[in-house]
Symmetry: C2
Subunit: 465 residues, 2 copies
């Protein structure tokens, strides 16, 4: 219903402007904001293919679809092989034998090992952070299930700093299992890194420390985290029966999809635009990162449709395996290492589908004056901000670490973690108009970078650990 209304509004606003006047940026903006093309692309990916975790049939179908779609737009495209892990979710459930066998809603973390088939039954101990864990010591942790109860800081989320709140909380998901294993825990559970919940667990990757035994890791829904906290805070002994049966199958050869529109005067200089084609398995990856894929594909589609020929080459990379390994980003950098001086910039979109505010960039503000001028047409969308970052996106990190100037799409983040890594990451969470604004912003930035006479400074960045 929302879709229909918005599409009608877009068509109406398109009518009031002449078709071919203005600068390329004006034409890009006008065209994109008058269509729901990016949304149509996103629908194809999410509705007809759906989940596409690395190694899955869905991921393979997505690669084929992306190749086919670029070809249908007469854009040069090829696949570049990437070897990816193949982790497959199994059964996952938990109960509290100490409390009438109440069900606990949870989901295994990506990469987690399995419990024995019959499960683990152990006492649950709660820690708010790693300091508390260390203070407990091995004598209190051995044989237990460690429960990390830290929640996202909702004041940060509401004030537009959701990614900061995410980084603060996600360490317990990524590093919690090995830190707990170090002290002898038998499993690790963390409160879902979530800004909303209807008993909704949020998955995501864990990172095992190779020096520690691998123990199962799972994220409980916010409601279940609060229940465990209440029971433990009241002094109850809480025991959990936990069953997760994921499997790590042999690696699979998958692919990055690489498309390009060749520049006429500086074809060897590349403006790279990227997003990741894989998604977690619970939802259909509409906001993570179907919307980024739609932004990238639509940027290429627009430039082609409008008959624009850039000075530099604009290259689209749809990365495989951002979610559970980052193999695509690394494989691209490795394969193209001889030409790592050629990208004049890399733009990534992997922060959701909401209305854009601009871009995060690794380029110092003093060097952005000319670019800001080029982005002025985006000011009408409120999407012209350039804010400093050391992390423009994880797939382009291997490039920005060598000094490639990096840009990351910065949409309104307030609701991103309502859906991120959940079954609820589905097409209906995307507003076609906001997705069009994102796509227009990426296209205008890519175009401006391709036409800019000078170069941005190359300053190698180091992502926060």
């Amino acid at each position: 219903m929302k879709t229909i209304v918005v599409a009608a509004a877009l068509l109406f606003s398109a009518r009031s402007l002449p078709a071919e006047s203005g600068t390329p940026a004006d034409r890009i903006l006008r065209r994109e904001l008058s269509t729901s093309q990016a949304y149509d692309t996103l629908s194809e990916l999410t509705d007809r293919i759906g989940p596409r975790l690395s190694g899955s049939a869905g991921a393979a179908a997505a690669v084929e679809w992306a190749l086919r779609t670029f070809k249908s737009w007469s854009i040069d495209v090829h696949a570049e092989p990437v070897t990816v892990p193949h982790w497959v979710r199994g059964a996952e459930f938990a109960t509290l034998p100490s409390h009438h066998d109440q069900k606990i809603v949870l989901t295994a973390l990506g990469g987690s090992v399995a419990t024995p088939r019959q499960g683990i039954t152990a006492e649950v101990i709660e820690v708010h952070d790693f300091d508390q864990l260390v203070a407990l010591g091995a004598e209190n942790v051995r044989g237990k299930i460690v429960f990390y109860s830290a929640a996202m800081d909702m004041d940060l989320v509401r004030s537009g700093n959701a990614f900061k709140a995410y980084r603060d909380a996600v360490v317990y998901r990524s590093k919690g299992p090995s830190r707990a294993a170090e002290l002898g825990a038998v499993a690790s559970i963390n409160r879902s890194v979530a800004s909303a919940s209807l008993r909704t667990p949020h998955t995501g990757g864990l990172k095992y420390d190779p020096k520690q035994p691998k123990i199962p890791g799972a994220a409980v829904a916010a409601e279940d985290a609060e229940l465990l906290h209440r029971l433990l805070a009241s002094g109850d002994t809480v025991t959990m029966h936990l069953v997760v049966t994921p499997q790590t199958l042999p690696d699979v050869v998958s692919a990055n999809v690489v498309a390009e529109i060749r520049g006429d005067t500086r074809p060897d200089e590349v403006v790279l635009i990227g997003a990741h084609l894989d998604s977690w398995d619970l939802g259909t990856g509409a906001i993570d990162d179907g919307s980024g894929v739609a932004n990238v594909m639509e940027t290429m589609h627009l430039i082609k449709e409008l008959g624009l020929t850039p000075h530099r080459t604009i290259r689209a990379v749809l990365y495989m395996n951002e979610e559970n390994g980052g193999a695509g980003g690394k494989a691209y950098a490795e394969r193209h290492k001889a030409e790592l001086s050629k990208p004049v910039a890399a733009i990534e979109s992997d922060s959701g589908a909401a209305a854009p505010t601009g871009f995060r960039t690794t380029v110092p503000a003093v060097a952005l004056r000319a670019l800001k001028q080029g982005l002025l047409p985006l000011a009408s969308l409120g999407a012209a901000d350039l804010t400093p970052t050391t992390d423009a996106g994880s797939d382009i990190a291997p490039l920005t670490e060598t000094g490639v100037p990096g840009f990351g799409m910065a949409p309104d983040s307030r609701h991103y973690f309502d859906y991120h890594h959940t079954a609820a990451d589905t097409l209906d969470k995307v507003d076609p108009k906001e997705l069009a604004q994102e796509s227009a912003a990426m296209a205008v930035l890519a175009w401006t970078l391709s036409e800019q006479p000078g170069y941005l400074p190359r300053i190698p960045t180091k992502r926060e650990p």
Copy 2:
């Protein structure tokens, strides 16, 4: 966190008033609004027992807990046996073989029969209502899975008429399976009757027409309903693989819990206050109907604690099996049929835990003048409204149908169907302050009815079908 802040505020406001002054209604209000006793009662039920579908161990534990709790308050209590169905949820999942085996999130409807263990695979056809189903005819329905796509009317929900929106949509859940079976369908799925969703299916009872074959019924999450609609609207043929394996086990003898505080001058005249102790199995039944149970128990607790002795008897009934059969309401009326002239009123709370606006009542407005006077203390909470209804609550319907004046708690309904019948119906959805307001409202109404010199007119009601 919310809990702590609210409790502190309540304690603070309590200090500013003297302890024992004012009318009983004033004392009830002051006392209840200064504690979080009702919330504590609700926590015990939902956190320590949890789900309690009829026939389950949780339901049995809830009966024992209620008996024990009333006794601990020195309130006379006993159990009255009720024979209930014992339906147990099994596996439940679905995929779309026609669309890369995408997962469809759904939950079996209460009472549903199972598919064969290996599932059903059939084409899905969408209908918006029964007229469309009938128009399709048996030749188009036979062998198919019928998908009822009607959504709740969100304009009604937002304007405070969520129960009207619920009644309009829920017919496809309750009657959809048999209507589809009549035309030869092999299964029936309905869009969850929901006002919010994070891929959240809403269960609820279905009613098989004994004249039709029983086919499985399940509710899909709103997101999945929209996906199915988009695929079908685009002209795709959609096939679904559906597995639901619930079982109907032999009936179980459970109980209504009946407690009373005897009146001093008119002990044979009863003001009945009721709620249902059972819940669906997915969540912990905090708003449906743990909050009603807390209202009823807290009303008794308050009157006892304040040392108030009513003129009439105030009787609490915690009904069993409201959710999937209504056996408790029927058993109570049957067991007490010799005294059906004795209840001067019956009050039910089964509409959630949000701030009360007043009560729905079967009593004509012209006969409510004296009662309205008694409820004036509730005006300060915005909880003094009395609005006409033919349905004051399903457990007391066997009483109101014989002419017992009926009252139903009427809280703000705007978010009730966000959680109703889902795994997300958990304690954190309840605001302790709003629950205290509800409990105070019930206690003031019960007290006023017990003390009122006259009688309300007895007008038998008939619930809407």
